[in-house]
């Protein structure tokens, strides 16, 4: 069989990635601009014997996938802005109960109902801090339709590997843009299957940690009877009031992600060796940033691109590194500076950090990024007619 090429929008590439990764359960509630994720799952899951259910709301949807994972499935739910807000309590539950699953948020402009049909990148902080408590976050920010396919597979793999919920964050532009993508053959891309306990049922402890790794999650109905709760729980899964254990567990949950940044963080780097100005951009804004950086290079300007594919855990090492060699980092985002603040934190004053924040639901234009690199003042909502490559602001 030759490789399959399909011409699809991002939302469909996402579900193709999910199916490739073995996702066979989807529960959702429609909301623009993520609705096609749900509709495509409704159309495709039954064909492969999977389960699809339209729930009564976003809370019910995420609850259902947690239940499905407990019963042994690989599961996903998808939503946008307001729905992502509703899911937050259960995001925390999944982190606490260490449920491997994938949640998609196709970002639209907020706050509130905001602007349903326009892109935004304003949920990056919510994806990290949206649920109460300090919880681990793994959040991927793909920047093209093909990449979304691969990153969805990676999301499922990371979820299984670290027994944690993983969020895929993209936006209306990536979600609705159509590109020709290649679907690899089965086996071509690694798919991590859920580990199964190899001990006897009576010895099984669902939260036992060995060599820094939490035990595999047994499927309900396979003879390993155990308890799941969102309360702090001991190794056997039952509630505990042991304060030292509570401290250790919160640290473990967060650090199982933070300590594995080298594995979880992936970046694309372009011309960083000698770049004087580095554009740090993710998702839709990185599309414009890449174009801008290439144009600038063609004009002999030493610009570079640092594009994280994983925004949480934050690629702090990469930012630290460029802050030592670059004079300036430019952070274009479709929000009011959510990641800009993080870049500043890790640049720690070693170089200048400048943001371009656009929230009028229009993607940041390459010319705006070029001007920022050239030191020309940038108006967030105004696309410059020309770029003067001789300018040095």
């Amino acid at each position: 069989m030759s490789k399959k090429k399909i011409f699809v929008q991002g939302n469909e590439a996402c579900i193709q990635g999910a199916l490739y990764a073995g996702c066979r359960f989807y529960a959702g509630y429609p909301i623009t601009p993520s609705t096609e994720v749900m509709e495509q799952m409704a159309a495709n899951l039954p064909k492969v014997g999977g389960k699809f259910i339209q729930m009564e709301d976003e809370i019910g949807s995420i609850a259902a996938i947690v239940g499905a994972v407990a019963a042994g499935e690989k599961a996903m739910t998808g939503t946008s802005g307001p729905g992502f807000s509703l899911k937050q309590e259960i995001m925390g539950y999944a982190a606490m109960a260490e449920i491997p699953m994938v949640v998609v948020n196709v970002m639209r402009a907020g706050p509130s109902t905001g602007y349903p049909t326009g892109p935004s990148q304003a949920d990056v902080m919510q994806a990290k801090w949206g649920s109460h408590g300090d919880s681990p976050s793994v959040v991927l920010v793909p920047s093209s339709v093909q990449e979304l396919f691969y990153e969805t597979i990676r999301a499922f793999n990371l979820a299984e590997k670290y027994r944690t919920p993983v969020v895929i964050l993209f936006d209306e532009v990536i979600g609705h843009m159509r590109e020709a993508i290649t679907i690899p053959e089965p086996g071509e891309v690694e798919v991590i299957e859920r580990a199964k306990p190899d001990c006897a049922p009576e010895d099984y402890k669902p939260y036992e940690v060995k060599d820094g790794k939490v035990a595999p999650l047994a499927a309900f109905g396979t003879g390993y009877r155990y308890h799941i709760t969102g309360l702090y729980h001991a190794e056997d899964g039952f509630p505990t009031a042991d304060q030292q254990y509570i401290h250790d567990t919160n640290m473990r949950l967060v650090n199982k992600i933070e300590d594995n940044k080298a594995d979880i963080c992936e970046n694309e780097e372009l011309f960083l060796e000698d770049a004087e100005t580095v554009v740090f951009a993710y998702g839709v804004s990185a599309k414009s940033a890449k174009f801008a950086v290439k144009e600038l290079r063609a004009a002999g300007i030493k610009a570079g691109l640092l594009r994280p594919k994983t925004i949480w855990p934050f690629p702090s090492d990469a930012v630290e590194k460029i802050s030592k060699t670059a004079k300036k980092i430019i952070v274009p985002e479709m929000n009011l500076g959510q990641i800009h603040g993080e870049v500043e934190r890790y640049a720690a004053g070693r170089c200048e950090v400048q943001g371009i924040f656009r929230v009028d639901t229009e993607p940041i234009h390459p010319k705006q990024i070029m001007n920022a690199v050239l030191g020309v003042p940038v108006e967030p909502t105004v696309i410059p007619d020309v770029v003067d490559f001789t300018a040095r602001g």
Binding site: K51, A63, A64, G67, A70, I90, R225
Partner: protein, 287 residues
């Protein structure tokens, strides 16, 4: 189902005392429930009903929300999930739909099921996915120390209705029936053997079964509403305040007025959700 277990009649009437141990988690008792709380009586009725059905622990999944009643799964040796306030039905929907072979039981409180979880409750009933929902109805929020609940009678006192509630209560059974549940019943903690029979039928029923269980909270509801002690409270609310379906049928309406009816109130045959989905899969895949 093992024949031995199903051979016995319900309620349990053997000479030897019923052995609850095979169903309970060793080392997880005592439970958190107050002295005089009926939650333990309900649990015992449930376990005897499960025993009569011959279900294996491995094949049972018990899912709950948050509240005193929702602590039940922690004590039983099944595949258990203590979830979030109001969300048990949705979690349970995921469990059952993913693995229809599991016998799914939801234990929930009146606040959990009908206030914060009201929407999930009616949609679970509408879908008719095979699961048995036990609403431990104590007319108050027990876990959080006695705030008003949606099943609290008008005039009842709670910490959030100090001068008497001015809201009409929900009737769990009417709500479940209207929303589409295919088995609807009511029991009380006072009538423990009858409850066992009712739960036996509810568990056996294929589809969404809802059992409203009057299970008065002595610590908050009882004290706030001037019940002298637990037995007086149970007697006046659960015994004298209710009447069985059979008795009600024999009496003229004026004699049953104000009484809450116990027993199986509604039964209907309707395609179960997972079976319906299997039909859909067969259609799609044989195309």
């Amino acid at each position: 189902m093992t024949t031995e277990a199903t051979a016995r009649t319900v309620p349990y009437k053997e000479k030897k005392p019923f052995d609850y141990d095979p169903y309970l988690r060793q080392g997880k008792l005592p439970h958190i429930w107050c002295a005089g709380c009926g939650h333990g009586i309900v649990l015992k009725s449930l376990l005897r009903a499960i025993d009569a059905l011959g279900w294996k622990n491995d094949d049972i999944s018990m899912v709950s929300g948050i509240g005193c009643s929702s602590r039940t799964p922690g004590y039983v040796d099944f595949n258990t999930m203590h979830t979030l306030h109001g969300r048990a039905f949705a979690f349970a929907t995921g469990v059952k739909f993913a693995n229809p072979k599991l016998n799914v039981i939801v234990t929930t409180g009146d606040g959990d099921a009908l206030a914060i979880g009201g929407n999930h409750f009616i949609h679970a009933a509408r879908r008719n996915m095979d699961m048995t929902i036990l609403v431990y109805n104590n007319y108050i929020y027990g876990m959080t120390s006695g705030q008003g609940s949606p099943t609290m009678p008008e005039g009842a006192v709670s910490t959030t209705s100090r001068f008497g509630s001015i809201e009409p209560p929900f009737d769990t059974c009417e709500l479940a029936k209207t929303a589409g549940a295919t088995f609807v019943a009511r029991g009380t903690a006072f009538h423990a053997q009858e409850l066992e029979k009712t739960l036996y039928e509810a568990l056996k029923h294929k589809g969404t079964s809802v059992v409203d269980i009057l299970d008065s909270c002595p610590t908050y509801y009882g004290r706030f509403n001037k019940h002298k002690n637990v037995s007086e409270m149970m007697k006046s609310i659960e015994k004298d305040g209710t009447i069985s379906v059979a008795q009600a049928a024999k009496l003229p309406p004026e004699k049953t007025e104000g009484k809450i009816v116990r027993g199986i109130l509604h039964r209907a045959e309707r395609l179960e959700y997972c079976d319906g989905y299997q039909n859909l899969l067969d259609r799609v895949q044989n195309k």
